[in-house]
Symmetry: C2
Subunit: 347 residues, 2 copies
């Protein structure tokens, strides 16, 4: 006999990319930013690490919300702060989805949507991206309580057209969550939709563009009516004192973030060009990674790169098993990846 709910008992957990605790790896597998966070963030964190840690954090994260509101051009009551954007995905799931309710997301996309649906015992409805990774017509499901769109999409790097997302939000009787964790590396965004629709939630993350994966800061932006309800589901002290300090400091470093994002976009082009020269089919990416199909079995390439201490991401799953996802590291790391790949292909 198990004490666990049946849905928990039978579900498979989310498997994050490897986080090797030893050194020596070129780590291009979990979309971390190769550049350190803004020096002002590090300074602020060091200054905040003191005796005041004996006190609870501000449960409302008021100052972060105010600063985020300025950066995103919204009101503070349209912003919620999460312990990573994954925390906000969880709040969204618990707020809108009862057992058996339909949750819609795309394939291939971020694996956590399915895991969170299973934990909630919702009914997942997976729709397939078109062959060129555009939104398909059946993304609109009239009985969907919640629809996830990841744009730029993980792991393909492709984007959903804001106009098509707007059409979906307009037709939908449920919530449309646009996961924009990678949007600082893209040309557009769906952020404006929060002013037009009371059923759209935009998610942002400081893990990638702000180089703060280790600090766990996510932001949700939506109509105040939605944020107010999500605040009831949010754990009171979900973001710790240092997270609050770091997030506030990071939002004052937008220029630094943009400079790093520009370098990464440039290196994304560099990588794509070199991979194409080596015979890869590279999907057009707007994220800090590329999904690329090699002229050899992708799983074997993944293993051979790992033997050379270069980590990329590989999934043995439909529509993904013919490619690898490569995070955009430093130019030096990408050169090492390209050289190793050339060697492996030469066999």
């Amino acid at each position: 006999m198990s004490y666990f709910r049946d849905n928990i008992q039978r579900m498979q957990p989310y498997v994050p990319g490897e986080q090797p605790q030893g050194g020596g790896f070129i780590k291009l597998n979990t979309n971390e930013n190769p550049y350190p966070p803004c020096a002002k963030v590090v300074e602020a964190l060091r200054a905040a690490a003191d005796g005041s840690l004996r006190l609870y954090p501000d449960p409302a994260c008021a100052r972060v919300r105010e600063r985020a509101a300025e950066v995103f051009g919204v009101e503070p009551d349209m912003v919620i702060i999460g312990n990573g954007s994954d925390d906000i995905l969880t709040m969204v799931m618990r707020s809108f989805v009862s057992e058996g309710d339909k949750v819609v997301f795309l394939n291939p996309s971020y694996g956590l949507y399915s895991v969170l649906t299973n934990i909630q015992n919702g009914r997942e409805h997976v729709v397939e991206y078109t062959e060129d990774f555009k939104l398909p017509a059946d993304i609109h499901q009239p009985d969907a309580k919640l629809t996830f769109i990841c744009s730029p999409n993980n792991p393909t790097g492709t984007v959903a057209a804001p106009g098509e997302v707007a059409t979906l939000a307009e037709k939908s009787d449920g919530i449309v969550t646009v996961d924009e964790a990678y949007v600082d590396f893209a040309d557009g965004s769906c952020l404006d939709l929060v002013h037009r629709f009371d059923n759209v939630i935009i998610l942002r993350s400081m893990s990638k563009s702000y180089s703060l994966a280790g600090l766990r800061i996510g932001l949700g932006i939506a109509a105040a009516s939605l944020i107010g309800g999500l605040m009831k589901v949010k754990d009171s002290y979900n973001v710790d004192r240092l997270g609050i300090v770091g997030a506030e400091a990071a939002l004052a470093c937008v220029e630094n973030m943009r400079e790093n994002a520009e370098k990464i976009k440039k290196d994304r082009r560099y990588l794509a060009e070199h991979l194409e020269k080596l015979g890869f089919d590279v999907l057009p990416s707007q994220a800090n990674f590329v999904f690329a199909r090699p002229p050899m079995p992708a799983g074997a390439l993944f293993e051979k790169l790992k033997e050379r201490k270069i980590l990329v991401r590989y999934w043995d799953l439909p529509r993904l098993s013919d490619g690898i996802r490569i995070s955009i590291g430093t130019r030096h790391e990408l050169e090492a990846l390209i050289a190793a790949t050339e060697e492996i292909l030469a066999g």
Copy 2:
């Protein structure tokens, strides 16, 4: 029309104690430790605030689990780390309670149990403590999927006898969670039960005894079979890099924690004696606070203390509205509280 689930729409949120962002308050309202965390924890955090924050944390928190296992005399696979013990309470709720399942907890106790049951759309069943705050016979509910016992209990400071908890665990077909957030200020513990029962989960917190409320570190200790399932529900990166470093450092500072706890226990006696002299009825507390019934309306006393910039906790709820909960601050803070109370009572 609301997009929210009915249970979310109608529920009242958890209301944490005030966290005034301005200074000048004597803050005896949220059970924070008046002493700073161990200097080694602060040093470790400062050292860890660097460029490595661009990388994700270890999703398994392996090193913290190993060290916690040593401290608690269990195996690492019997430990889970949470973003505060509230995070583990949430994992427990999502793991064992389906919609409509019965969740049992006591009155009066920690308000979050009810809030989390409502978010999960479970069926809460509240049993009353006996008049002297012992476990009542009807704490055993044959169809309970989950029972929460807070010991020492918040906000009364009273404890449940480990033998009675063992009897409950033995009879129960569901999970018994013993929330021991305050146990480092008590004389006993239910920790040993995890070796005897596969349905007991012990929760610990670094917020109180380790002076780390601002860092959000909770620990769950249970049979490996339970921890394995809870890990599926845990967010991969629920504890950030700094939290991991701080928790590991804190677990090497057990002596420092115990010294502070001893000071607090001594001052708890000091406060209780003085309050009794002023005509209060003080419950026997094993926590870092006392629940005390004043010889005047408790709500009025709470307000008058607040006017004097002394914050304590007051609830206008059955069995609580005749008292206030006072966290054990420094001796100096307690003297100020006693003097102010004397003045207020003299009217």
